[in-house]
Amino acid sequence: MTSSLRRNEPRFRAVPRFDDRGVTVSLDGEADLDANDSVRTLLEELHAEAQSRKATTVTVDLTKLEFLSSSGIKHFIVWIRNDANLAEPYQIRFLSNPLVPWQKKSLEALRCFNAKLVTVETAGQSS
């Protein structure tokens, strides 16, 4: 399967990158209600792409994502749940930006939802 995984909404953008380890998607802008469908379909396509490529890790780079509404957080929760339901789930790695205040608690909540699959790293560091 080949998916562009690219989004170019007025205030929300997604850019994918593929390598041997898996898939990285960088998000940029504001993911609120206006971008809700775009976030949902992006994560559905990302899940399919990860399975197609037998990826071991999927990285979501949030360092340039200025806002994520609870509607968007719910799509991430469903994505993590769908990954956990796979026979061989892939690891989900979030790259965060400490200068964007919402990310600390939102990403910690996502990590706690499934600590076996989800890790959160500050961009430029590794845990």
Partner: protein, 153 residues
């Protein structure tokens, strides 16, 4: 600082209002963390108005007071009485729990739900460190989020 707005929420308008409120609060308080918490609460409260308002109209007020160290956000809209009662019940239940514990429980519940929403109030409580109250005045529902400055964990 007192900010009052009357408008008809749409996704685009809610985004613009959230950004504007965050910018004003950040300039007034010189505190980006508080501005982000207010932005989260504003977004989530207005999304709820968008979902549940009977006539589509909303009023938003934001009051920040450096002397009392309090920030209060209030939305007013017309809502079905049964929905207001359900909201009040959910808020009472939420406030009886630790914020992060309740947030984790809510996340686990919405993961299995096909319905939109369900996370906003818990996010205000846990991430924005704000307590919530709901009042019904005639056909109007008032949802009030309050925090004290410097309280965030």
């Amino acid at each position: 600082m007192q900010l009052n707005l009357e408008f008809r929420p749409t996704p685009v308008v809610i985004s613009a209002v959230r950004s504007s409120v965050a910018m004003i609060v950040e300039r007034y308080l010189s505190d980006r963390d508080v501005a982000t918490r207010i932005a989260i609460a504003t977004q989530e409260l207005l999304e709820n108005v968008l979902r549940h308002s009977q006539d589509g109209d909303a009023e938003l007020s934001v009051h920040a007071d450096q002397d009392t160290h309090r920030v209060v956000i209030e939305t007013r809209s017309k809502a079905d009485a049964a929905k207001v009662d359900d909201l009040a019940r959910r808020i009472r239940e939420m406030l009886a729990h630790d914020a992060m514990e309740y947030y984790a429980q809510t996340i686990a519940a919405v993961a299995e739900s096909e319905e939109d929403g369900g996370l906003g109030l818990a996010r205000i409580y846990a991430e924005a460190d704000m307590t919530l109250d709901v009042q019904r005045v005639a056909e109007e529902v008032r949802v009030i989020a309050t925090t004290r400055l410097g309280e965030a964990a």
